[in-house]
Amino acid sequence: MILELLLTSAPDWAIRHAAVLIVVVPLVMAPILALSPSARLAWFLALLATAASSYFAILTLGIVQSTPGGIIEYWIGNWYLIGIEFRVDALNAMILLIVSGMAFLATVFAWPTILADVEKQKISLFLCAFLLCFAGLCGVAATGDAFNLFVFLEISSLSTYVLVAMGARNDRRALPAAFDYLIMGTIAASFYIIGVGFLYAATGTLNMAEMAAQLPALAGNRSVQVGFAFIVVGLGLKAAMWPLHQWLPNAYSYSPSFVTMFLAATATKVALYALIRWLFTIFNLDYSFEQAIFTWVLAPLGIAAMVICSFQAVFQTDVRRMLAYSSVAQVGYMILGISIANAAGVSAGLLHLFNHSLMKGALFMALAGVCLTYKGTTVRDFAGLGRSAPFTMSAFAIAGLSLIGVPLTAGFMSKLQLGYALFDHGWWWAVLFVVFSSFLAVLYVGRLLQAIFFEAPANPGKPRKEAPLIVLVPLWILALANIYFGIDASFPVGLANDGAAAALGLEALQ
């Protein structure tokens, strides 16, 4: 309904260019920020850019849902069939909505944390890097060209390395973390581009849709299989698929808290989207080697991530590291959903992707609020915070419960869908792993909640101090979204079902 209202009120140019404007607005704003003399002005412009992008993302979703085929095609430079295409269907539209929405909320709450984490004269450059990263992520999600995807992947990754390294002001370990991420990210990007090279050699095209049309004739071609393997490993590394996740815990723990929140809510999601796009839209299930990969590679890796990384999370003393390991575990759930390789499974994976960005966004945002007022991110530092910062911490608790998958929270809905999909597929044993991993989540989230609400403060002289209002408002929006989508999940479930149907090339799924 809101979508219809937006669609009718939007000007013609916005409707026509919506898909490309999501990327162009932050891309144009980024260099302006680099030239901006004032930090406050830079933040305001960044806010404007992310808000505009979110608007165009919602508009894009509306257009996709209201057009019959459900696909927006936009040829850059009007080079029809020979140029770069932006191609948005229900799957990308969902990812674009998540990325731009989270970027907007992140920018709103960013101001006080940036002031605390980043040197004053570097703030506008920092925000410039953030906008570039955001533009890159949106570009990955919007593009319909395999090589262009690589370019946007690099834009987002390079700026992410910068953003992570900016944590060095608080903790020098941010520098090796950023360097590790740089090496791993570069390997991932090279693997991806090698894979694209093989496929280009075999098909003679870089356009994804065109490639998908040509590939069936090339079944059994060795270079297609090699290209497939390279692409899956490259994107798996970017998406922090176990055991390729080693860069993630450090990168999340030492970067400025605003960056952690933004990355946790968007970066791995976009890589996972690209993986889904390659696995289901460009390649498809008719290839026997792909079936084998789903059953024998992706499903075991997903389960291993769920169990092993949840275990690792239980033993962490630093809250950010704990949540980072938990992120890898959550990626495991999504990979497990994808590996079922039918509409219900992909839909469950996408739903968890949506919900995970809500809950990790809220958790890391609350964490940033705590960093801001109390410094210190170990579990011991959190003791007694429930009394000194009740609003921040109750939002944290809601998101934590959602992470466990307690009923009436969003996390429960996606685990339920995943369970249904697994049962329908006959993988009942995998459901046991999901339940076991959720039990581990009870342990690590419970340990935190116990410290927060039931332990005496480590330092009793601590004054009662909430996070600033500008942090609390977006934090509570996310926390309430966690509850709302746990009670009425029709919106995200609808998005995920449409997305899965678009990925698998099916008619809309009910």
Partner: protein
């Protein structure tokens, strides 16, 4: 100057730097008909700056071309490139549709011509500014741990 060991170096560099700069623009505009292009031209431009700083010292170079300028230059380059795309969009074309720049009917080539030249100019700015900034950042870095502290 008495006792200046590097006088030959200085004189040769002084002769070479203008030539390098001219060569950069040659590469830039030759890109249309042969080997060359804005990326290479930008690198050559930055090389002139690096040669200057190697021979005359970083401080002198930073006085001639201040770091804020190189950084701004790269930002302006990106802005020029993206701006052409937006310009085409404002004229009713698709993003980066050069044909739309001057409202040309199909078959006209002025838009294509101007569009590609402006965009290459943007790339030149971005690459030369970016490379000089990276060079300044590396060369101007003060060691945080002195050698004798090891």
């Amino acid at each position: 100057m008495k006792g200046d060991h590097h006088i030959i170096l200085r004189v040769v560099a002084k002769c070479l730097i203008p030539l390098i700069l001219i060569y950069a623009f040659y590469v830039q505009f030759h890109g249309e008909v042969g080997a060359g292009g804005a990326f290479q031209a930008g690198v050559v431009l930055a090389v002139a700056l690096i040669l200057h700083s190697l021979v005359f010292g970083l401080t002198a170079t930073m006085r001639a071309v201040p770091p804020w300028f190189t950084r701004g230059l790269s930002a302006v380059g990106v802005l020029v490139y993206a701006g052409v795309g937006v310009w085409a969009m404002l004229n009713g074309g698709a993003y980066l549709e050069y044909q739309a720049l001057f409202f040309e009917p199909p078959g006209g080539h002025d838009g294509q011509h101007a569009g590609i030249i402006i965009i290459e100019l943007g790339v030149l700015f971005a690459v030369s500014g970016g490379l000089s900034t990276i060079f300044y950042a590396l060369a101007g870095r003060v060691a945080e741990i002195r050698d004798e502290d090891w």
